[in-house]
Subunit: 331 residues, 4 copies
C-alpha cells in the first residue's frame, strides 16, 4: 500500500456546477490533507473550464486560511460545454500533464461526476468526487454538502414570511430549489411548519391541495404556507396561485415568493462544515489508497465509497417516513 | 395641563396597512406607557377592520410580554375598504363609545394616517400616529419603524447572492420593496456593495446602465449586482434582464431575484426596537398632553410632531449625498 | 394491537432538565400527533415540578401554533428534587389519576429519563422519552434535539471572535458547554476552524497544547482559536490562559470568552426541527403500540427504541474519526 | 481650492485600537474615493505599529473587493506603545516620506485620534479621523462605526438568553462592553427588553436594583434580564450576583453571562456599512479640501467636522430621554 501512497504527489482540486455553501470548507480540507500527507495541492479555477484554460495555481495551507465560514467557492465554478468535446478533454489532459498532477478531487453534483468519469476513463486518470449540491440529489451519501445550510436559509425565510402571513391572514406559495428533487421542499416544509408541501416525488394532484384548503377555509385558520419544490408537477407557483384564486375567489388572499438564489449562498452551517471537512480528508486518503472513479460519502455516519457510475445513474429516494410525519403534523 | 392629562383614561391601539418589524415593540411600549400612566390600554385587532367589527380586547403589561423581538404584529393588520364608507366609520365610532375609549394610537403608514385624520375630524376624536413601514416613505421622521430591519434583511440576502454571483461571474438583478420610494434600494445598494442601484427618484434611463455594463464588461469584473427598487421607472427586473440580454448577448450571464415578502418579516433590529419603544412612549404622552391629529417622529434624534395632514401630503426626500456616495464607491 | 391502541386516550407531555432549542417543535409534534390519532394531549408545566403541583392544562392543535421556530420551551422546565421523594412521586401519581392520563411523553436528558424510569416502574405507568439536550450526551440516538442548533450558535460566535482575533493576532480560549461530554467542542471546533480542541474524552495534557503553540509561535500564524469543552480536564479557560501566559510570556496575546447560556437559546435549526417533529410523532405512536420505558431516537436515519435503563446507563462514544479529521485539518 | 486638491496625491489609511464591524467598509470607501479622485491609496497594516515598521502596501479598487460585509479589518489593528515615543514617531515619519504620502486617514477611537493629533502637529502633516468603535464613546458624531452592529449582536444574544431564562424562571446578569460608557448597555437594554439596565452614567446604587427585585419577586414575574455595562460602578456581574444571592436567597435563581468579544465581530449591519461608506468618502474629500486635524462625523444626518482635539477631550452625553423611556417600559 505504501507504494501506491507514494505515487500521489500532486493533487488538483476543483469545484464545478452549481455552487453550494461548504465547498470552501471542502477545498480547505483537501488542501490541508495534502499538506499533512506531503502532497502538493493545486487549485483549478472555474471547474473544468479552468482546467482547459490552464487556470491552475499551486496552493498551500495559507491559501485556504479563513475560508471555512465563507459561502460560495474561492475556486469559482462554471458549467463547461467545452469539456464534453474531444478537443476540450485533450486540452485539459495536456494541462494536467504540464502541472504533473497525479490525481483530481472534483467537488460538485451529477454533471461534475459524469465529466470526471468520462475523463478518468479516457485518460486512465485517478479522480475522486465529493458530493456538493444544495439539491441533495446525489446517490451514495446521506447528505451532500450545502443541503443543511440551504435548509436553514429556507426556514429562516419561511419564518419571516410567516410573520407577515400571520399578520395579514394570507396564503403564501413559496417556491424552493431542488431541481427534480423535493428534498429541500420536504425538509424545509416540516421545519418551516408549512401547512402543505408539494414535491415531485409525491404528486397528489391539485385536488388534494384544494381539499385541504377547503377544510381550513372553514376552520378559519389564520394563515397558510405552501412550500412548492421547483420540480413540482402542478406547474409554477404562479400557476398554483391562479388556480387557487379561481377555485376559492376571495376566501384566500394569496401571495407568491420565489426564494431563488439566496438559497445557494451564505455562511455554511456547522453541519455542512464538518461534513465538508470529513469528505475533504477522506477524498485525499482515498486517492492515496489507490481508489479512483469513486465518490466519497457519509452514510449512517460512516464513510462510503460509491462508484461514480452508480452515483450518477441512481437517485436517492425520498424518505417515506418524512412524508408521513409531514402529513401527521400539518393537520 | 393636569386636567387634560386626566381626560385620557382609555387608549386603543391598532396596526394597519402593511406590517413592519418593530410594530410589536411599539405596541408593547404603548401598552406599558398606558399602565405606567394609569391609563387602560385596549388592543384593536386587524386595524380599522377590527374597530368596525368590534374585535377589541383590554390589554395589560402581561399581554405584551416577550413580543419585543417578534416580527409581524400581534394585533394583526388589514386594509379596510369599509372604513372609507360612512357606515363603516359610524360603526367604528359606536364601538369606540362602547369601550369608552378616549383616544387612539394608530401604527402604520400613509393610508393608516389618512383614515385616522378623516375619522378624527369627523368625530372630533384624538388620534396620534406612529410611523411604521419598511418603505420609509413617511414625512416627519428620519426613519419609520421596520426600515432598518428590512435593510439588514436585504443586505443579508445580497451577501448570499454575492457568494453565488462571484462563484459564477454572474450579473444579478435584485428587486427590493419600497413602493414608489427608493429608500430600501439606495441604502441596501450602498450597504450591499451593489454595482448599480436603480431608484425612481433618480431615473437615468436604461442607457446609463448599458454604459456602465459596457465599461465593466471590458474590465472583466468578476460579478455584478444591480439593486432595483420595485418602483423603478425602467420596468420590472425581468424587463431589465431582457434588455440587457438583447444588448450584451452572452457577455453577461444574467439572473433575477425578487426578494419579496421576506423583507416584511423577521426579528426587528435593535435600532427598530429602540425607535419603536421611544415612539410608543411618546405617542401616549402626546395624547396625555392634549395633542391630536399628529404623528410622532424622531428627527435629528429629537421628538417631532407632524400634523397628520402634512405627514400624508408630503414625501420625504431622497438624500442627495447618498446618491453621490453610491456613485463614488461603486466605481 | 388495536386494543392496545385504544387504551391510550390521554397523554401528558413535559420538558425537564436543561432546555434545548427544538423542544417546542417536539411538543408541537406530540400534541398534533395526539390530535391526529384522537388522543387528548395535556401539557404539564415545569417538568416533574408541575406534575407534583398539578400545573397541568389540556392542549389542542391551536396551543402549539407558531411555536416551531421558537427557542426554549413553552411548557417551561425545571429540575425537581421533590420528584426524588416518595411524597413527591405520590403527589404526581395522584395528579395523573385526576387528569386520567394514560401515558407520559418526557422530553429531556439523563436526569429526566431516570425520573421517568423510577416513576414508571413504581406505578406501572407507560412513559416514553424524547432525547433533548444540547450536550448530545444521550445513548440511543445519533443526535439529541438542540445539539445541531447549539453547534450553529457556537460557530457563529466563533466566526465573530475570529474577526477580532485575526485583526489583532490574538490567541483566544473559548469555553463551550457540554457537561462531561466534548461533542459540542469537537464539532464546533472542526466547524469553527479552531486550531485546537480540548475535550474530556481525549485528554492529551497541557503539554500537547504547549508544543502546538510553540510550533505556531515560530511560524507566526496570525491568530489562534482554542475551543475548550467545559468538562475538559486541564482546568478552566482562565487556568489555561494563566498557564499559557507563564509559558509563553508576551509571545501570545491571550483572551478568554465563555460562551455561556446563549448556547441554550435561539431559533432551532431546520435539522433540529425535523428531528424533533419525527421524534414527537414516533413517541406517540410508540405509546399507542404499547411500548413503554423506552426512549425514541434516530440512528442511521431510522427509528430506534432504547430502554430508558440503557439510555441512562450508557454513554455515547466520541467518534474517533472526527478526532482524526480535526488533527489533520488543524495543521 | 483646486490647487489644494491637487496637493493630495497619495493617502495612507490605517485602522487602530479595538476593531469594529464596518471598518472594512470604511477602508473600502477610502480606497475607492481615492481611485475616483485620482489619488493613490496606501494601506498601512496594524495601525501605527505598521507605520513604524513600514508595513505599507499600495492599494487599488481590487484590494477592497468583497470586504464590505466582512467583520474585523483587513488592515489589522494594534495598540502601539512605540508610537508614543519620539523614536517611534520619527521612524513613522521616515516611512511616510519614503512612500511620499501626502495625508493619512485614521480609523479608530480616542487613542487613535490622540496619536494622530500629536503626530500631525509635530510633523505638520494632514490627518483626518474616522470614528470607529463599538463603544460609541466619541464626541462629534451621532454614531461611531460598529456601534449599530454590536447592538444587533447583543440583542440577538439577549433574545437567546431570554429563551432559556423564561423556560427556567431565572434572573440573568448580562455584561456588555462599552468601557466607561453605557451606550451599548442602554440601547441593547431597551432593545432586548431587559428589566434593568445598569450603566455608569446613571448610578443609582445597588439598592434600587434590590427594590425592583423585591417588587417583582412578589409579582412572580417569570424571568428577569439585567444588562450591566462593563463600566458600571456596582462591581462586576459576579459581584452583583453574589449580592443578590445574599439579599434574596433562593427567591431568585441567578445566572451570569459575559458576552465578551463576540460583540466586536460579525458581519456589519446595513446601517454601519452605509455610515462607514459615507465617512470614508467624506474623509478623502475633506483632505482634498485642505482640512486636517479633524474627525469626520455624521450628526443629524449631515456631515460634521470636529477638531481632533475636541473629539478626544469631550465625551458624548447619554441621552436622558432614553433613560426615561427605559424606566417607563421596564415596569
Amino acid at each position: 500500500m505504501s507504494t501506491q501512497q507514494d505515487q500521489i504527489k500532486r493533487i488538483g482540486v476543483l469545484t464545478s456546477g452549481g455552487d453550494a455553501p461548504g465547498m470552501n470548507a471542502a477545498i480547505r480540507a483537501v488542501v490541508r490533507s495534502c499538506v499533512y500527507y506531503g502532497i502538493e495541492p493545486f487549485g483549478i479555477y472555474r471547474g473544468y473550464e479552468g482546467l482547459i484554460e490552464n487556470d491552475v495555481e499551486q496552493m498551500n495551507a495559507g491559501s485556504v486560511k479563513h475560508i471555512i465560514h465563507q459561502g460560495g467557492t474561492i475556486l469559482k465554478s462554471a458549467r463547461s460545454p467545452q469539456f464534453k468535446t474531444k478537443e476540450g478533454m485533450a486540452q485539459a489532459w495536456e494541462n494536467i500533464q504540464e502541472h504533473e498532477l497525479d490525481a483530481l478531487v472534483v467537488i460538485g453534483g451529477d454533471g461534475t461526476f459524469k465529466g470526471a468519469m468520462e475523463f478518468g476513463n479516457k485518460y486512465d486518470f485517478p479522480i475522486v468526487g465529493i458530493p456538493g449540491t444544495i439539491d441533495n440529489d446525489i446517490y451514495g451519501t446521506d447528505f451532500a454538502i450545502g443541503f443543511d445550510t440551504a435548509l436553514n436559509t429556507v426556514v429562516e425565510a419561511v419564518d419571516k414570511i410567516r410573520d407577515t402571513a400571520t399578520s395579514h391572514n394570507r396564503l403564501f406559495f413559496i417556491e424552493v430549489m431542488g431541481r427534480d428533487a423535493g428534498f429541500i421542499a420536504m425538509y424545509s416544509g416540516i421545519g418551516g411548519g408549512a401547512e402543505e408541501v408539494l414535491i415531485p416525488e409525491k404528486d397528489r394532484g391539485i385536488e388534494q391541495l384544494f381539499e385541504s384548503l377547503e377544510r381550513t377555509s372553514k376552520r378559519n385558520k389564520s394563515s397558510r404556507l405552501v412550500i412548492v419544490a421547483e420540480g413540482d408537477k402542478n406547474g409554477s407557483v404562479y400557476d398554483l396561485e391562479e388556480q387557487v384564486k379561481e377555485q376559492f375567489g376571495d376566501r384566500y388572499e394569496t401571495k407568491v415568493t420565489i426564494l431563488g438564489h439566496v438559497q445557494r449562498g451564505g455562511r455554511p452551517s456547522c453541519g455542512d462544515r464538518v461534513l465538508a471537512s470529513r469528505l475533504g480528508v477522506l477524498s485525499v486518503e482515498a486517492l492515496r489508497d489507490g481508489k479512483r472513479d469513486i465518490m466519497v460519502g457519509i452514510r449512517n455516519r460512516k464513510v462510503e465509497y460509491t462508484e461514480l457510475d452508480h452515483a450518477t445513474k441512481r437517485n436517492p429516494k425520498m424518505d417515506k417516513e418524512l412524508v408521513r410525519v409531514a402529513d401527521i403534523i400539518s393537520i
